[in-house]
Symmetry: C2
Subunit: 434 residues, 2 copies
């Protein structure tokens, strides 16, 4: 079917059958012992490695078509698969297989005065629709996380990775067949027709949650169209606030954390985009900017910062900040810098311009740290460490399906456990209500 | 402002200011100690009682207008407030004040190998938009639950209770003022113009969650229009399955639970609407129907049931079931009854026609109970007790904001704790990523 041109498919029929089959498969998967699901994943990892040549060949077809989609060289590099990258995919699947099974955990349990025994038990969400524009390895990661958490999965990858994703999905399907699972447990949408997504987003009788990962425009479009609950993964406009008491931190700690938050990796959502310096921490500001300059970082500066840095930085690296800069996720060697008069100004700035993703404070003052933790309205609040630690792997969640900027259900890095919900189980001996 | 006719209000300006003020108030409320929030609620309860005459007078205005809205006598009775009902409202607020403060609870905490100390800490959701078509006491309950959980609240009640809700909201506002809180923490939408709701449902930059309570059409309309995450409270098409091994239960237990699930209160979402009897439990079916007949319950019967009951019931109480009956929440003295060949048929029927609210099994067989618990895809699964126990009060959650039929965030009865999310707090000593 992969070879079938999209227009040959009747979209409403195709997507409805896809969703119905996923729902049926989810009911079976939800009652499968964790042992069997783990074995399935280990076998899937082996088969990914065995099929490396076919996967790389399919990937080459995507690489060849890349110019049609005007992919940048960076995007092409993210798209490209080679033997070591396929091995990394398999390794990630094995790691997820070794994770604790979240299904069936008793979250809480108690006995009521009338003798009813009540348990809040963790169960899979059911059917997950995952819409992504990412590297092909996300396909196997998402499948593994859903198997680990007992969910059926519908995968809708980007058209630029269509053949790669199809090859990986066929490995997954063959493993499901071989191991006696319903292969509808993990299905790839086998058309790049956008109408298929629009149609799937209305199937709220079969699909329990939509997780879109990609640009903000993609996510907004999904939210607009969907009747199904969406867990959003918006941008990370992350801040580092250098408090007046940062000067009391050990030598260079504040500078090192600022630089690491900005330059250790720039194209990721947990990299810092804005630094806020208390006006009594301007020595740290200057030293940070000197080091940033050595990494060719461009600085969008508030007027005070511009004064402080005149002579310190080459003019072409020092640009006056616009109001838009405070709200921008640069994902590049660019940082916006503002000098503030107080921690209150810093917190207000973060709550106004931030994206509630990850924000850090550098301070030696415990009360300042507590105030920042309590009042910054973000998923992840860091004290005296790099924003780059806001990550499922770094939190020990294993692979992550994404980093939620929502407040409902899951917030921040999402692991397999965040793909579960709960069921109230009530056991009695004939109790009735009077 | 209450007296201002709706058309005098500029809706977009009004709703945006309302939402902005709620957001600002939520930031302050979130960092208020629980002690102060509890004291606020106790004072609010006292003031509700003090203002009983004004509340009853306002309620009378709604009662007088009831004919305009074609309210049934049952609806008018639910709308009516008297001294004892106002005292009950105050009592409920006091009970919520005595509940444990969910804000600040550490859900989990651990130290990473690199020394980062990570805590998953419970925090308020922020701003809740509550849209309801219920009794006026829901206004004070919702306000108390949001204060207890540190959330700001925007209340949009039904037009039929407009004056009652306005009087109750003014008590809440005066208490907030008197106790030094920002009165924007709890705001009632002071116009019945539907455009106000449409506008509020787009304010996702200020409002964190929408909780609609009312008819399915209201909830569907909210889901269609909202850019804000919605926690849905759809209907309860609840089932009781009487297993073949129910005959081994103590004398009359199965019959008593079936009858209680149907008739103890009929107009509520956790009342049973369909009974499924294993074909080897037909004696229980007959006795249950004899008792239901004495409560004037109408039976929508499958062909087998019709045969079994011929002669047992008056013809006008025994009507052949249509396919639509299996999917209907009657909320009345009506029950659909089907005889099934196996527990599998019962579970498949529930997963096909049910609303994932509450479903019960009656059996003496532990394996049958376990299978039912594992495979019925509902928020609440009961074994050998009445479906009527699916309730926040019965679960010991205190007052409930509703019973979620969603799978995300909260499932089944929702208490104050379900109006919270969490924040990841990460404390380090200069860690950077290599």
């Amino acid at each position: 079917m992969t070879q079938t041109p999209a227009q040959a498919i009747d979209i409403p029929t195709y997507t409805t059958q896809l969703a119905e089959r996923a729902r049926a498969a989810s009911h079976k998967l939800a009652v499968t012992d964790g042992e069997r699901r783990a074995a399935l994943l280990l076998r899937m990892a082996d088969l990914l490695v065995e099929r490396t040549p076919q996967i790389i060949a399919a990937n080459q077809r995507d690489i060849d078509r890349a110019p049609e989609f005007n992919l940048t060289s960076a995007m092409i590099d993210r798209l490209r698969l080679d033997q070591s990258r396929v091995e990394k995919m398999a390794l990630s699947v094995r790691q997820i297989a070794q994770q604790k099974d979240p299904v069936g955990q008793i979250i809480e349990g108690f006995v009521r005065p009338n003798g009813l025994r009540i348990e809040k038990t963790r169960v899979p969400l059911g059917v997950v629709l995952f819409i992504y524009e990412s590297r092909p390895n996300v396909t196997s990661d998402a499948a593994a996380l859903c198997i680990n958490s007992g969910n059926a999965l519908i995968l809708r990858g980007g058209k630029e990775a269509f053949f790669s994703n199809t090859a990986i999905a066929s490995v997954i399907r063959d493993t499901l067949d071989e191991q006696g699972f319903d292969s509808a447990a993990i299905q790839l949408v086998e058309t790049t027709d956008r109408a298929a997504v629009t149609s799937l987003l209305k199937q709220d009788q079969y699909i329990d949650v939509v997780i879109p990962r990609g640009g903000e425009s993609l996510i907004r479009a999904v939210v607009e169209q969907s009747n199904i609950p969406v867990i959003k993964h918006y941008t990370g406009n992350c801040h580092v606030y250098v408090d007046q008491h940062a000067v009391d931190l050990p030598e260079s700690m504040a500078v090192d954390v600022c630089v690491n938050s900005k330059v250790q990796r720039t194209g990721v959502c947990n990299a810092a985009e804005t630094f806020l310096f208390h006006r009594q921490a301007t020595d740290i500001l200057r030293e940070t900017c000197r080091q940033l300059a050595s990494f060719d970082v461009e600085i969008r500066a508030c007027p005070t910062t511009t004064q402080l840095l005149s002579g310190v930085l080459p003019a072409d690296k020092l640009i006056p900040a616009t109001d838009e800069d405070w709200a921008t996720e640069f994902l590049d060697l660019i940082v916006a810098i503002k000098v503030v008069d107080s921690i209150d100004d810093a917190i207000d700035h973060i709550n106004q311009y931030g994206s509630r993703h990850t924000d850090a404070i550098l301070t030696a003052d415990i009360l300042a740290a507590d105030q920042f933790i309590a009042r910054v309205d973000s998923a992840d609040v860091m004290v005296n460490c790099s924003t780059r630690f806001s990550d499922g792997g770094e939190y020990g969640l294993g692979a992550e399906i994404g980093i939620s900027t929502d407040k409902l259900h899951a917030r921040g890095p999402m692991g397999a456990i965040d793909l579960t919900t709960y069921k109230w189980v009530v056991r009695g001996h004939g109790q009735i209500r009077e």
